[in-house]
């Protein structure tokens, strides 16, 4: 049963990598037109959760997109069912040009949204013929986001888009995502609390491979309580 208004429903999702169990029965609902931010300390399994939803990691449990089970599908079919994926560390095709990176995201039977992408990232238009590997981290993040947004999608999954970027570029990425979230449902991992606060409608906290707290974006205001959920001490940075 899908909760009304959920774009993505995840139930009892468990995943292992090699011999270690990384996820222990994760339940997650991503409401339509909302931005859901996943928080959690390093190594608790946030990326593994996203990768399990996409079918990269072998997992048990139910995953439904718009009420349709996708957990038996291979990755490329899950994506075609309506997911756009912007991975941790961007994963642009380094030996390909910016234009080729974007062109790969074109889908048969769809008009590619180059207008949208170049409107969000005017910089990319000027760098079309540059090798993606030669771009700065921030520019590569733009390519990865542009590549994700080129085809229409029901759900945009983004893994730590601000990771490793300078504060100024972090804010650029956040501003872009703030515009993007008006038009699409987003599920993202974000460790930068200020960025998370600007974008989150809903928050899900993961610890030890399971959901330990969830609520609205308000949760991010009471940092002490949040630290409690995350399982870190008061003095520690989150």
């Amino acid at each position: 049963m899908t909760t009304i208004g959920s774009v993505l429903s995840v139930r009892h999702l468990s995943a292992r990598i090699g011999t270690s169990q990384i996820l222990h029965g994760v339940d997650l609902e991503v409401p339509r037109n909302q931005t859901t931010v996943i928080l959690g300390r390093n190594g608790v399994g946030k990326t593994t959760l996203l990768r399990s939803i996409l079918g990269y990691v072998e997992a048990s449990g139910d995953v439904e997109l718009l009420g349709r089970p996708i957990d038996r599908l291979p990755t490329h079919k899950r994506v075609r069912a309506g997911i756009a994926y912007v991975p941790e560390d961007r994963d642009v095709f380094r030996s390909l040009t910016v234009e080729e990176n974007l062109r790969l995201a074109e889908r048969a039977g769809q008009v590619p949204r180059y207008d949208l992408v170049f409107d969000l990232f005017p910089d990319l238009a000027d760098r079309r013929s540059q090798n993606a590997g030669s771009l700065s981290g921030g520019q590569q993040q733009m390519v990865a986001l542009g590549r994700g947004l080129l085809a229409e999608c029901e759900l945009l999954i983004v893994d730590e888009p601000t990771k490793g970027l300078s504060p100024r570029v972090v804010q650029e990425v956040v501003d872009v995502l703030a515009r993007v979230k008006e038009g699409v449902t987003i599920l993202m991992v974000e460790q930068n609390l200020s960025a998370a606060q600007q974008l989150a409608d809903d928050v899900v906290v993961i610890s030890e491979g399971t959901v330990v707290a969830s609520g609205t974006g308000e949760m991010l205001v009471d940092r002490d309580k949040l630290r409690g959920f995350l399982g870190v001490g008061r003095s520690e940075e989150v």
Binding site: T75, H76, Y85, P87, D91, S95, E100
Partner: protein, 296 residues
Amino acid sequence: MDTFVLLTVAGLSIGALYYLLASGLSIIFGLLDVLSFAHGALVTVGAYAAIETMTRLGTPSLLGFLLAVLAATAVGGLVAYVIERLLVRPMYSRGHLAQLLVTMGAALIMAALIESVKGPDEVHMPLPKALEKSIHIFGAVIPVSMALTILAAIALHGGLLLFLARTRHGLIVRAGVDNADMVRGLGIDVSRSFSLVFVLGGLAAGLGGALAAVYVRAATPSLGDTYLVYAFIVLIIGGLGSLRGAFVAAAIAGVIQQFANYYVKAGAGDIVVLALLVVVLLLRPQGLFGRVGRSV
């Protein structure tokens, strides 16, 4: 002078045969990260398909030869397709040793099948008159068959570069070499590209088989083995995964092999090519055109 030209052309035509095999292995390795030991047997299969076609057609003609080449190419591609689907695909996540064993097993099975049907002895390749002729270049007498083999390799190389640079499938292959998982993450079925690349390699190997049969005027069940060894040497000299590297290295290996065989003594060519391999590995382990990362 004419000996020099003839040796060069003969070397280039041997190199062309190496390239017909190495090109497929190169792209397959680049995208799939698989070293296919089955591809030598595809040369053998192609050679037998060409001979069978020529023999059945009766009096050798140019048209018949064309059909034989087409048959060899098609059979190479078809067998490659079957091997990929049945044997290699389940092994993608199993690592190099499993792939090596499975593709070697496929090669042994194919050789055994050919031997059980056609026998262990040489089978003669009938040639049309036109291919027995020679042309004159710079005072040297060059067999038409050699010129044809060289042209085939050049055409294949050009075609592959165009395919990679200009087509969507080529783009997917290049992206897949970089990061196949991310290609899947864009909604693209990479496994179709895996099949495609394997089949392309099979087509080239089958074509190579027909031309190898022309070169030696015959085939045996182990015909492809030598070519496979040299194709791997050429791949490593040129740089694993580099198509241009394989092209240049194949030419170099073929030519120095011929020169050494002629000027030093028959058989010296093999040693010289191996020596070149060792020198390249010592001075430039990534190969002539290899980069430290992977690319096509």
